[in-house]
Symmetry: C2
Subunit: 347 residues, 2 copies
């Protein structure tokens, strides 16, 4: 989506699966033409598709020597707590020595490392810490009104595919001629779309203010698709989720979940709350600030056959009485739900 000016190597060494390396996997999915290779010496010879679920023609390489055309090293993961795997420091140093730019979505800022900063300067390279931000404004907090539609993806858990759902719905709406826009709130969405706010590293008092600003700056669009973060039920990240929800004041919510997941991501043994319970919770707290409703469900069915996916969709339709899509296969019912909400708010 951003202008294809980068020639990227995605670093996922030792962490090459679509969940752990979701930053890398998403950049491959949405900026495929910019990615030259994936660096993971344990998987050389394979294609990115085999280990990250995207990029059928992108090779996996063993070292920076295997793709000397590259001008950018992308840190492919954003682990809990946001620190970089220790062995990667050597790769980052080597990249900077070659004059490659480094892009990172970690909480740990690479540009704060004096050695790396000096290397970058010496070799005329840049270090971009996507999560660095200086948001320092509380929300205005006035009702945003219904002149433009705000659709927000919310999750049963973290890492359920909210960013993908948001991007795919925006694409589908634009294909139908709507004046819509994807608004990124996480490091991966920002790297993919070239703009946005890394909402989870904003100081808590300013989270809603940052989300509100993102929306207000884009209100010339008819429909805003605002990427959600975490989950209202996640014992680590719910502050981010609620600040974002209240800051962007969505009229419509899309509830995202991954089929067959049983426990909360990153918290051993903690059972997920049901979709019904989350629907009630999101609507109850969302409405404290702006009228809102869950208008559809986005299923991440990557582990299902098409037949299993249909069975699962029927189950959820029965449970919640809402349209449901697996947006990587088809998003028509959710697009319709968004169009219907827009109509009902106009009339």
């Amino acid at each position: 989506m951003a202008a294809p000016t980068r020639r990227i190597i995605v670093l996922t060494e030792g962490h090459s699966d679509p969940i752990t390396a979701k930053t890398g996997a998403s950049v491959i999915r949405y900026c495929e033409q910019e990615v030259l290779a994936v660096l993971d010496s344990e998987n050389t010879g394979k294609k990115a598709l085999n280990i990250l679920g995207a990029g059928p023609s992108i090779p996996v390489i063993a070292s920076l020597d295997d793709a000397t055309d590259a001008d950018t090293l992308l840190i492919g993961t954003a682990p809990t707590g946001g620190r970089m795997p220790a062995p990667w420091h050597a790769v980052v140093r080597e990249a900077l020595q070659r004059g490659m730019n480094v892009i990172s979505g970690l909480h740990e800022f690479l540009a704060d490392d004096a050695e790396l900063r000096a290397l970058a300067e010496k070799n005329h390279a840049t270090i971009t810490d996507v999560r660095r931000n200086t948001e320092k404004n509380v929300a205005i907090g006035q009702p945003l009104g219904d002149d433009y539609l705000r659709i927000h993806t919310v999750g049963q858990d973290c890492s359920t595919g909210k960013m993908t759902v948001t991007i795919e719905l925006d694409k589908a709406l634009r294909q139908k001629g709507h004046n819509s826009k994807f608004l990124a709130t996480g490091q991966t969405g920002i790297i993919v779309s070239g703009e946005g706010i890394p909402i989870d590293c904003v100081v808590a008092d300013f989270v809603s203010g940052a989300a509100e600003r993102l929306v207000l700056e884009n209100k010339d669009h008819d429909i805003l698709l605002i990427e959600g973060q975490g989950s209202l039920a996640h014992p680590m990240y719910s502050a981010v989720t609620l600040g974002l929800l209240h800051g962007c004041q969505p009229q419509g919510l899309i509830l995202c979940y991954e089929v067959h997941r049983k426990t909360i991501g990153g918290v051993e043994g903690r059972k997920l709350r049901s979709l019904s319970e989350l629907k009630v919770a999101y609507e109850t707290v969302g409405r404290l600030v702006h009228p809102t409703q869950v208008i559809g469900v986005a299923m991440n069915g990557r582990r299902l056959t098409p037949e299993e996916a249909e069975v699962e969709k029927d189950r959820v339709r029965e449970e919640l009485g809402l349209p449901i899509c697996d947006v990587c296969r088809d998003s028509a019912d959710l697009v319709k739900a968004i169009e219907n909400l827009r109509e009902s708010l106009r009339s």
Copy 2:
């Protein structure tokens, strides 16, 4: 509560009312023996009690010259966004030139100002920015269990008196022989009690982790009273509120409100949500992480006569079916509710 080693001048110049200057007013209320004077040239001759609602014997002075014994200047406000009124910079400079220590709860860190820092160094004074913190850990997120009781104050709005309620309930419980402790989560509570975490300036991803740490470090007490922040319904601050609620996993909530307030603090014209709606919302989202319930209501009845207070209490008892106290007058019913919850969790 902290050891009385400071000789404080509270700076509230031009902002001397109990709400705007709640930091100053609370320090006077709970650390009265440490406060020499209030600095507000527009109100000289009065007592602190007349302008801030506490401190009947504390004089209001016009300049630092009027209390030369003082060794500490306390910034008495913590306004929206956390910046200091511009005219106060001269007072802070003068205090540092006299070798006085400066304590501030602003979001804007005074020690980041090179001129102030140099002045402090030159005059062997300290600048303490209470809100500065380096919390960088996500919550563990495991259930905290019922070995010790966690009581959390939550609000219909910001600035309803949650800190006061929390301190008063802790005092009352200790007077009855309970092994309880007040846990501060805001700048004022930290200045008063000498410890705690300024939760609203923690990066959003780490808010729950900070609250969880505060609780785990104090779990040797039977009852923890955890100061709440903001409100789940506040369009600026709800991220802080929920991160704190989920991080400390309280079994019992005390819902705090101020009688006669109609609109949300700091957001012009936005009507407050009802106590009933907030009770449902706090319980609904709280239970996503740990079983919890609102066990009582704390009324801030500072604008009421004792007779009016009784009428208001009857109204709320009728509406919510819960015990209610104005803790500055009497906290017996809430103490009983806490004891009852402790009993029921033990059996």
